[in-house]
């Protein structure tokens, strides 16, 4: 160990002249350490070693950031940030004052001051104050916030006492946990930025804490004061970018993660005293200011407006159907369905519920989405992607799908109370596959949709609307679907839906046991081209065992080989649009895909139907509001295949659409999160590359830039005092030496070290010698001794010349190179 390091800082110890501390600060690279070592080695005193000021400053920053993050987490969205800033300022002031007192006490007393009882008192007072606060000001905090407040107060106290190392450690750990717990409460975007900054400072703090231990026994001959700052800055910057990107705006990183949250959705428990709900519970704050924003709350105000009906949406999206000029149809249903079809056709046409697959060519829509106050028709909270049924179609005559008749013979609906909440349950639905299904809950909030039918997922098991405990408010509509006995669904009121999700890969046995279903779900239109379609179905299904794999093969073939084109239409004189789609154009809108899937599967003996409704697209997930909006573009058609009594499985044949599967396992979630991160990076590749390039350029030229900045700063700093001017120039030269890898160790004078390690030409040497001579005078001469040897202007000129001669470039060129040892 170098004896130089063991020596206490002579200048600090002497302290005769006012210029001595200045000299110490200038000439000793590590005055704090020297002082600390001197104190430590003195022995005999009970004072524990003091932490370096810089490290305590970092601990301060860490604690202050954590405290501010905690304050931010407690505040409501949209509140003013001024109280938080004021609170942070007060905390900083109190902490600084306390820290100053502790440091002073350590210097004045022989023993270390006793602060443990003070810290305990701070914690106890937090809890003692709460009943007074509730009694006097009628303002209280929930228990968890109270505990966190006590934690924050203790952390601030420890940070103030961080001049002792043990408190420094504890303050850092507590701040980490405080930020972590605050994250569970936070929703403010600013919070994510604050956490990113906290993480960056925390990484720096960890590294500095470790380096402080290493630095004590650093070899003097190979001393580097601190590791290169960019080593810490770059990871910190990366952390800021990643955390900031993940928490800011809409991206799929959070969308994927959010889908795994359990939703209380009405059948979970809730705590009336909780500050916030867990998941989507009923304690969320009512959105009275922004009614368009969605939260599954029960007391949101009702709002009336002219919303589009489902059939308006179909016509908006797919254009109006072509009314055939000829009354007779070229392709007809089988004879046994002809009679029933005639009746139903008449009813459907009257109600406008039938759906024709022969429609006009698209034209530019005149109505823009921006015309509406909200672009969304309704909002969905829960896992996505989700298919919400609105209309079921069973009979297909080659051009038009006829809707299923409403359930009339089903058992009456009943209300059950589950967890003090009224739930509408469906007693007639067989639940053969519920043992292998997983429960799923979603919440809807209708904003702009005019219908009385409740959009519902497959395998709906219950409906809950808060305070609605009368079963007569509901009625059966089509199979497995319910409507409200009113003209339209109540807008802005959460409708909770309970359903089950069946993993189709586990139901192969059901397909083989009974291909069942009523015959109307297997009826095929008659006609010449149906022969070719049946051949196509057999060819695609060949080689696959009957069951889900065969169904998936048909749907997969459609997804892969056909193009989804919402504007594609068959010729207006086309008699069989499905044949045109399957055999000719191979391009079409989603109802053609759904029709093709249903017909092809019927050709293979499966019972199928076509469903229209809404596709809840995960792309529309709002991470901050934690819901998915459904727009008029999300109107969608898909097919369903009959699996078992009461169970219809969604078959998605349209490219780009996904089906909600059972909840993913941990590995699948991680894989999805990784994929989403990768997609985010890929989508912002240009920005990332540009950012990285800028960072790389800055890193490569970091020393030159830093040198330029410090030189400009020196020039701008107009010091009237000659001594100050010389010393600041000397600091600049010292920093340049350090950046050039020639850091001046302890015990070397600036001049001695400079000329030992840098070989300059003679003229430059003379100027620099004079400069160092005057710098020695500035550092060590007592006040009044020697006064100014030259005029301030001349001194400034000399410093300027010295800085120019000892530039970074020249130092790198003229440095004395050492031979590496072999």
């Amino acid at each position: 160990m170098s004896p130089d390091r063991d020596k206490p800082n002579a200048s600090t110890a002497a302290g005769h002249s006012p210029s001595w501390p200045l000299a110490a600060a200038t000439l000793s690279p590590k005055p704090g350490v020297a002082k600390q070592t001197a104190l430590h080695r003195a022995g005999g005193s009970h004072r524990p070693p003091l932490a370096a000021i810089r490290l305590q400053g970092l601990t301060f920053a860490l604690a202050l950031l954590a405290a501010t993050a905690f304050e931010l987490a407690q505040f409501d969205r949209g509140s003013s940030l001024f109280p938080i800033a004021g609170s942070a300022a007060i905390e900083a002031a109190v902490m600084l004052a306390a820290a100053w007192c502790f440091r002073r006490a350590n210097h004045l007393r022989v023993d270390a001051p006793i602060i443990s009882p003070i810290l305990i008192a701070v914690v106890v007072l937090t809890f003692v104050w709460e009943p007074f606060s509730r009694w006097m000001f009628d303002a209280g905090k929930p228990f968890e916030l109270l505990v966190m407040t006590a934690m924050r107060n203790l952390m601030l106290g420890l940070a103030a006492a961080a001049c002792w190392r043990r408190h420094e450690h504890l303050a850092g750990i507590l701040s980490m946990f405080l930020v972590l717990f605050s994250s569970t409460l936070a929703s403010e975007p600013a919070f994510h930025v604050l956490v990113a900054v906290y993480v960056a400072v925390g990484v720096w703090w960890l590294a500095a804490m470790h380096w402080e231990k290493v630095r004590v026994c650093l070899l003097a001959t190979h001393a580097t004061a601190v590791p290169r700052p960019w080593l810490i800055l770059v990871p910190a910057l990366a952390v800021i970018v990643v955390v900031g990107a993940a928490g800011w705006g809409r991206n799929r990183v959070l969308s994927v993660a959010a889908g795994i949250l359990p939703s209380s959705g009405g059948d979970g428990s809730c705590d009336p005293f909780a500050a916030q709900g867990v998941g989507d519970g009923d304690a969320l704050v009512a959105g009275t200011d922004h009614i368009q924003s969605f939260a599954p709350i029960e007391d949101a105000p009702f709002r009336a407006s002219d919303e589009p009906s489902l059939y308006d949406l179909f016509n908006d999206l797919y254009e109006k159907p072509i009314v055939p000029k000829r009354v007779e149809r070229a392709i007809a249903l089988p004879p046994e369905f002809a009679g029933a079809a005639e009746t139903r056709m008449a009813n459907s046409e009257q109600a406008g519920r039938e759906f024709s697959t022969l429609r006009r060519r698209g034209r530019k829509r005149e109505q823009s989405i921006g015309d509406l106050r909200s672009a969304a028709l309704f909002y969905v909270a829960g896992r996505t992607p989700l298919h919400l049924r609105m209309e079921l179609y069973d009979l297909f005559d080659g051009v038009q799908w006829l809707p299923e008749p409403d359930e009339e013979r089903a058992l009456p609906l009943t209300m059950n109370r589950i967890g003090k909440r009224p739930w509408l349950v469906f007693p007639s639905i067989a639940r053969a596959l519920d043992s292998i299904a997983t429960r799923e809950t979603h919440a809807l909030k209708v904003v702009n949709l005019d219908t009385s039918r409740i959009p519902s997922p497959a395998q709906l098991r219950g409906v809950h609307i808060d305070l609605v405990d009368d079963a007569t408010m509901f009625r059966w509509s089509q199979q497995g679907m319910v409507s409200m006995t009113r003209e339209r669904l109540p807008p802005s009121v959460p409708i909770h839906l309970a359903s089950v999700v069946v993993d189709p890969r586990r139901v192969d046995r059901e397909f083989t046991a009974w291909a069942g279903g009523e015959r109307r779900f297997q009826a095929l239109p008659a006609g010449r081209q149906m022969v070719e379609i049946e051949k196509l179905a057999r060819a695609w299904g060949a080689g696959h065992k009957r069951g889900w794999s065969q169904i998936e093969a048909i749907a997969g073939r459609l997804r892969e080989s056909y193009v989804l084109d919402r504007d594609a239409r068959p010729p207006e004189d086309c008699e069989f649009p499905l044949a045109d789609f399957l055999l000719e154009s191979r391009r079409g809108p989603d109802y053609q895909f759904a029709t093709a899937a249903a017909v092809l599967l019927r050709a293979l003996g499966y019972s199928t139907r076509v469903v229209s409704g809404f596709y809840v697209d995960p792309q529309n997930y709002d991470a901050r509001r934690r819901h998915t909006s459904v727009h008029r573009e999300n109107v969608h058609f898909w097919a369903e295949v009959f699996v078992s009594a009461g169970t219809w499985q969604t078959v998605e044949a349209s490219p780009g659409y996904e089906v909600l599967g059972p909840p993913p396992g941990l590995v699948e979630r991680l894989a999805a999160a990784g994929m989403a991160t990768w997609l985010f990076a890929a989508n912002h590749a240009a920005l990332l590359v540009c950012g990285l390039a800028v960072v790389a350029i800055l890193l490569v030229n970091r020393i030159a830039l830093a040198d330029r900045v410090q030189t400009i700063a020196w020039r701008l700093r107009d010091r009237g005092d000659s001594r100050q001017s010389l010393l600041s120039a000397l600091r600049v030269v010292d920093r340049r030496l350090r950046w050039a890898g020639l850091a001046r160790p302890h015990g070397h004078t600036p001049a001695g070290w400079f000329f030992q390690r840098v070989d300059l030409e003679r003229d430059a040497g003379v100027t620099l010698s004079r400069f160092f001579e005057l710098a020695d005078w500035a550092a060590f001469a007592p006040d009044g001794a020697g006064a100014a040897l030259e005029s301030p202007a001349a001194l400034r000129g000399l410093c300027d010349s010295a800085l120019r001669l000892a530039s970074m470039q020249r130092l790198c060129i003229h440095r004395v190179r050492e031979c590496p040892i072999r």
């Binding site: 972590l180 960890l206 190979h222 993940a246 928490g247 867990v278």
Partner: protein, 431 residues
């Protein structure tokens, strides 16, 4: 000082005393036995692991935003573990000293050659174990950075605090950079060991009551008498032997003249050093070090004064001859004595002195003295130098008790440089 001021000061003192008592209660270790189970919490690694687990639980159960924090914490953990491990992948090093022997607290130049085969640099390297620092720390030196694809040589002044063969245990080059979470280490090769002799104090006196064992080649004294070279003549005194009468001179001077003779004499003594571990079981390492320092000081000083010294350590015996080799062997042996002493069997403990006629000096502790008191066959002429280590005076064997009494006594914590020359000189004169 007025009465009010006195009262105020008294209250302040009482308040401070209360504060001290509360602090003492807060810091009282109620279950010291459990400390070893919680020491691991001091490592920031486990704090971070705990925080990560908490974040995952909070993320799954409460708010998915916390999962991002969990990811960041896991990333920091991974960085803190992988970086040190990766840093030392291509590093090898060798430690050597520029001298073979030195003494306690005498500086030597140590040299560490580090070779980094990998392209990335290694930061914050610590040379740990084997070379304890003077303040008791395990790290000897720290290297800020070893660049990639380089070989570097670092030299520093090493001051061994205690005797021994350095490095005391295989040294390791370790790093915990950047966060101090994980320690990666490689074994450092040792090119040349350093033997550190115990610290000695020069002694100037020889025991007065020594047996004379003349040797021509070296002597510590001259003994006048009947033997040896003729020194001169003198008048006959009553009691002189007639054999010494110089008849020719007597005839010439008409009175009896006798011859005066002088023979070279050497102080011969046997020093027995009690290094039995049982003698230091209670007193600790400091007593053992004091005993070894006293033994080394006595042997080295007497050897310098040409005394004939036989030093017995356990079952080994060292005869210090004129050459320096014997002293070097003895000092090397003393340097290699384990920190807790030897485990010597009972038979070896009572091994007899090789030359029984010599003065016997035994070096032991109060525990060793207590054991001797109970032994009836102890040598009555043995002189005991005792290092007292027990603070309990009542438990110490009293001087003159039994057949053993200390010749010189030292405290285990005393300053040998000041105490030993004075007490040794006084003991030699008095004896």
């Amino acid at each position: 000082m007025s009465q009010n001021q006195i009262t105020l000061t008294g209250r302040q003192a009482a308040g401070q005393s209360l504060l001290v008592r509360i602090a003492a209660a807060l810091h009282y270790d109620f279950c010291p036995w459990a400390n070893r189970w919680v020491y691991w919490l001091k490592n920031p690694l486990w704090s971070l692991v705990l925080a990560t687990v908490t974040a995952i639980i909070c993320g799954i159960c409460i708010n998915t935003n916390v999962l991002i924090l969990a990811g960041v914490l896991a990333g920091i953990l991974a960085l803190g573990v992988v970086w040190p491990w990766l840093s030392l992948r291509g590093v090898c090093c060798e430690l050597s000293f520029d001298e073979l022997r030195t003494r306690e607290r005498h500086p030597v130049i140590a040299c560490l050659k580090v070779h980094n085969r990998c392209p990335w640099p290694a930061w914050g390297l610590l040379l740990e174990r084997g070379l304890p620092s003077s303040d008791g720390g395990t790290a000897s030196i720290a290297l800020a950075r070893v660049a990639g694809w380089t070989s570097c040589e670092f030299t520093w002044e090493f001051v061994p605090a205690r005797r021994g063969v350095y490095p005391l245990e295989p040294p390791e080059l370790a790093t915990r950079f950047p966060f101090g979470l994980f320690r990666a280490a490689i074994r450092a090769g040792v090119g040349r060991e350093l033997i550190v002799w115990p610290r000695t104090v020069p002694l100037e006196s020889l025991p007065d009551t020594v047996e004379i064992d003349p040797r021509d080649e070296r002597h510590s004294d001259r003994h006048a008498g009947d033997a040896g070279e003729v020194l001169g003549t003198r008048a006959f005194r009553q009691g002189d032997s007639l054999r010494r009468v110089h008849w020719m001179q007597s005839a010439r001077h008409q009175r009896l003249i006798v011859c005066e003779r002088q023979a070279p004499a050497s102080c011969a003594l046997s020093l027995s050093v009690d290094l039995d571990a049982s003698s230091y079981a209670d007193s600790g390492a400091e007593s053992l070090e004091q005993v070894i320092r006293i033994a080394a000081s006595v042997c080295e000083s007497l050897h310098r004064l040409h005394a004939d010294v036989e030093c017995r350590i356990g079952h080994e015996s060292f005869l210090l001859s004129q050459s320096g080799g014997s002293l070097r062997r003895l000092m090397d042996h003393l340097a290699r004595v384990p920190q807790t002493g030897y485990k010597i069997e009972s038979a070896a403990k009572s091994a007899p002195c090789r030359i029984r006629s010599r003065l016997m000096i035994s070096l032991t502790t109060d525990a060793g003295l207590a054991r001797r008191i109970g032994q009836p066959h102890s040598n009555l002429h043995e002189r005991l130098i005792v290092v007292q280590s027990r603070r309990d005076i009542a438990a110490q064997p009293r001087a003159g008790e039994g057949c053993c009494r200390p010749w010189i006594e030292f405290d285990a914590a005393c300053d040998l440089a000041a105490e030993l020359p004075v007490r040794w000189r006084r003991a030699c004169r008095v004896a």
